[in-house]
């Protein structure tokens, strides 16, 4: 019987993940309504449940277990990007135009400060070669910029692992923290969402954090965040690496 069920789920992984996520959403919206009187949005609770489940697994989170592999497809980059693009239907072009300049400034500034603070922490922790510092600083941009920079600079895999971990920490803090700090940082309109996307840059964190804060803001944040990783991959192994190299010598 168990073999039969395992077989069935293995063949229909994506369908099984619809059921699972549906149940998680149901539980979390019920918790939000009845237990904490909507103080924390149901979406935020659902995301935290997701992260907790991910902790059970390994590299691919809960999808590391074959029976939950379908979640990897549902939460993978293909469907994620597809649904993020579809949210553009609810975006207002004029509002994006109005925020355009602020968005571009925040992109460059966001990559710069993430790199700067990531590198400083790396230095404080005793790394003093330009390649390692640059790689860890790049990881503070996003978990994609880190390994791309690291392999461009030929650093060892343990440094790359730290840089990926740094990026994932950023994604998780953004996911959980955004709804908590939204009020304090004025994240309640399309323009600040555009700036938020540009400053934070981790597409998954920005998307999840905004979804938990106010789903209407998602398209605005996602629009700028999508350029961040590319910009980081461009700047970190080149300009930033040279600057670090000059500073360290």
């Amino acid at each position: 019987m168990t073999e039969l069920i395992e077989n069935l789920i293995g063949k229909n992984g994506l369908i099984f993940s619809f059921l699972l996520i549906g149940i998680i959403m149901l539980i979390s919206s019920w918790l939000s309504k009845s237990l904490i009187y909507n103080k924390i949005p149901g979406v935020a609770i659902a995301i935290i449940i997701g992260l907790a489940l991910a902790y059970i697994g390994e590299e691919k989170g809960i999808a590391s277990f074959p029976i939950f592999a379908g979640l990897g497809l549902l939460g993978g980059s293909m469907l994620r990007d597809f649904s993020v693009v579809s949210t553009a239907m609810g975006a207002d072009i004029d509002k994006i135009k109005a925020a355009g300049l602020a968005g571009i400034v925040s992109l460059f500034f966001g990559v710069l400060i993430a790199f700067l603070f990531g590198s400083i922490v790396a230095y404080v922790f005793g790394y003093n070669d330009a390649r390692s510092i640059t790689t860890i600083g790049a990881g503070a941009c996003t978990y994609i910029v880190g390994p791309i920079t690291g392999s461009a600079l030929n650093v060892s895999s343990d440094i790359i692992a730290i840089s990926i971990a740094t990026g994932v920490v950023k994604t998780i803090i953004t996911t959980v923290g955004t709804p908590l700090v939204a009020k304090a940082i004025g994240l309640n309109n399309p323009k600040s969402a555009v700036v938020f996307g540009g400053l934070i840059g981790t597409t998954s964190g920005v998307a999840a954090g905004l979804a938990a804060t106010d789903p209407k803001l998602v398209p605005y944040g996602a629009l700028t965040a999508t350029f961040y990783t590319g910009l980081g991959c461009l700047l970190c192994p080149s300009v930033f690496y040279f600057l670090v190299k000059i500073l360290m010598s």
Binding site: I21, V43, I49, G50, L51, A54, Y55, G57, E59, F68, L71, L74, G75, G76, R80, D81, F82, S83, V84, V85, S86, T87, A88, M89, G90, I93, A98, L101, A102, F117, G118, I120, V121, F125, I136, I162, T166, G167, V168, V169, K170, I172, I173, G177, V181, I185, K191, S192, V195, G198, L199, I200, G201, T203, A208, T226, F227, G230, L231, L234
Partner: protein
Amino acid sequence: MKIYGVALLAFCFLLGKLLGNLLGHLMQINGDVGGVGFAMLFLMLSNSFLKRKGWMEQETEKGILFWSSMYIPIIVAMAATLNVKAALSGGPLALLAGAMATFIAFAFIPLLSKIGNKKQTKKEKE
């Protein structure tokens, strides 16, 4: 038909990704630079074009709106497939660097949102 909407979304998605990958290739980064952003712009433009022409039917729109309503469940699935263990086992360096980078960025949001506003009001005054 709803599939028209899904097809339009797929077209914008692929075109945007193509442009993003092309840009990445030109910049010599083996990856996608802003593909999702371009795709979103294409979708917004084609949506307003079709609406102006009166060709955007409600059913077509529903095909796209279905996917945007699937967005949050997909994010929950994504959260469940993140490498949370690695993030926590990356040690205090990864935790501190990741946290610093995020909180500093949070702190700058009000400031950068304001810079844009000033310019806007200036333009309005002119």
